[in-house]
Symmetry: C2
Subunit: 322 residues, 2 copies
């Protein structure tokens, strides 16, 4: 195995670092949903995590792992949203200076929240500029440490702590549905699930328009696509990472896709029946289960709800669109 | 003291009856809100209760207290919404036939949910007909037992279990804000708070347009008003009850009111910052705290979020209205 790949032991260490720092988020259920599906579904509610998304886990774990010189120089991150807030908040908690490179069309609420956590925001045009180049420029000019959104061992290990908590609470599961963008959450979840509940079939769930993960998984190599268009704004990545792909390839049961309409139906289910706000990307795993993309009857099923950060105007439109 | 008034001992017994039946709902906090108010605020989330509201507690407790003959004949309830679903679900769980008298302009989601729980729904015009007369007619014709929405010792005792749970989790509080309609939740909460945290100042919170509780509390006798117009559709009662008023008069610190606009601001806060759907009536207590209707700085504050049942179309409009 590639020696730079994170392992379950790294997830356990991340879990210890996050103890009392990240919220141990609740696991919720719906008896009406269970009756409809003939299954038992457990939702791990990372929409209730600090900054409203699981990303805090990986961001904090990466920053807490820096040495004193790196902390003094500061960090830089590029992100379409939740990773930005995660690094910004973790940096403030650890007294580290943070610079965040964000697309200028990221949700206003996410940009405002990132600045609210005390980070400096550098905006770019996602259709014309390369965010990685901008971030690397800041690394070279100012000596900052880059905290990538998913392709980093400490980030992956941190994200895996959510599923570790879920499985400790539910015991073994038959299936687990996890949102898939760049693969940080999915690969971390796979490390945890493989160690704790090895018979659990773990599915990565992508938006239909952004099915690079499905292509890569079935081709056996990383396949890149153009920037996809979907309401799942946290899963608009063009390719899996060099660290996330091999873990996904090795341990995932399959990758499946859901439509934007299925994401909207899931959002409405959460608002109407479970009184929770879940963002479109956060509904990826849930939409696969609710729409029975794969047969779920008779199964004990985990679903990772990855976040709840959505502009209220956009959210209202999703709740009422025909 | 009036011998028919419920006591804290009745709340304790209700709590035992509801053990493993009602959800022990989570208590949530917001560090950004606490920073803004300079206070510690604990939200008791009855929007996550069965049927989406605290009403399940009182409804189930009342039905579970019936004798076998009453259970055989069935029950009838009149309700503008959540009490209807509460009695319907409790009846199904206890294998009792339920008839619910509901206003024809009650939220469609609430009527559908009530029927979904297997109850028979009898509709009436709230501006022309008297729901109590209709219900009493069914009592006489069919031998049903009436389960009133708030003015009943077992209902009051059941509602008090939410604040009992809250105080067991938080320890003593300085202040507690509770939504006030007919006073079932407030009077039950007062029994629990007075016994567990006797120095806690408990406030009932009404919509501005429906301030009969404030009038009654300060006049020292029950004052009736015309059916008020407010988005808080669960607090449109015209008068406190003969059982709820004396408990409120004896133990409440004060009654305060909030505007519909303050309710909307609270709803947006819960959606945007806490990822929770809370219905307008459910925001009454929160709106008082968030809008600092009384000084809250430096205090440990409990807030009862009473429910989360709101039509998605109406909810969307609240989230986006200017």
């Amino acid at each position: 195995m590639n020696p730079s790949l994170p392992t379950y032991e790294d997830v356990v260490q991340a879990s210890q670092r996050l103890e009392g720092i990240a919220h141990r988020t609740p696991v919720t259920t719906s008896s009406s949903l269970d009756a409809r599906l003939g299954a038992l579904v457990f939702f791990k509610c990372e929409n209730f995590q600090r900054i409203g998304a699981f990303k805090f886990r990986g961001g904090y774990n990466a920053l807490a792992s820096l040495d004193s010189e790196q902390r003094k120089a500061g960090v830089v991150a590029f992100s379409s949203g939740n990773h930005a807030q995660a690094v910004a908040l973790a940096a403030r908690m650890l007294d580290i200076k943070a610079t965040i490179v964000m697309p200028h069309d990221a949700p206003a609420a996410k940009k405002a929240a990132t600045r609210g956590y005390g980070a400096q925001v550098v905006e770019y045009d996602r259709y014309k500029q390369n965010r990685e180049e901008i971030a690397h420029g800041l690394v070279q000019a100012q000596g900052l440490t880059l905290i990538p959104p998913f392709n980093h061992p400490d980030v992956i290990a941190g994200q895996g702590t959510a599923v570790k908590e879920l499985l400790e609470e539910t015991g073994g599961l038959d299936m687990l549905f996890v949102p898939l963008g760049g693969g940080g959450l999915l690969s971390g979840s796979l490390l945890a699930a493989h160690a704790i509940s090895p018979d659990c079939a773990v599915y990565g769930v992508e938006p239909e328009a952004g099915n690079d993960g499905w292509k890569s998984f079935h081709k056996g190599e990383i396949v890149g696509i153009d920037t996809p268009v979907s309401i799942a704004d946290g899963a608009l990545t063009q390719a899996l990472g060099s660290l996330t792909f091999p873990i996904i390839r090795q341990h995932a049961h399959d990758i499946v896709t859901v439509s934007d309409q299925q994401l909207v139906q899931a959002m409405r289910f959460f608002a109407e029946r479970m009184k929770m706000v879940v963002e479109p990307t956060g509904c990826l795993g849930a939409a696969a289960a609710l729409s029975e993309i794969v047969p779920v009857k008779g199964k004990r099923i985990g679903v990772l709800l990855s976040g709840g950060n959505v502009d209220l105007a956009a959210y209202s439109a999703y709740l009422t669109a025909a």
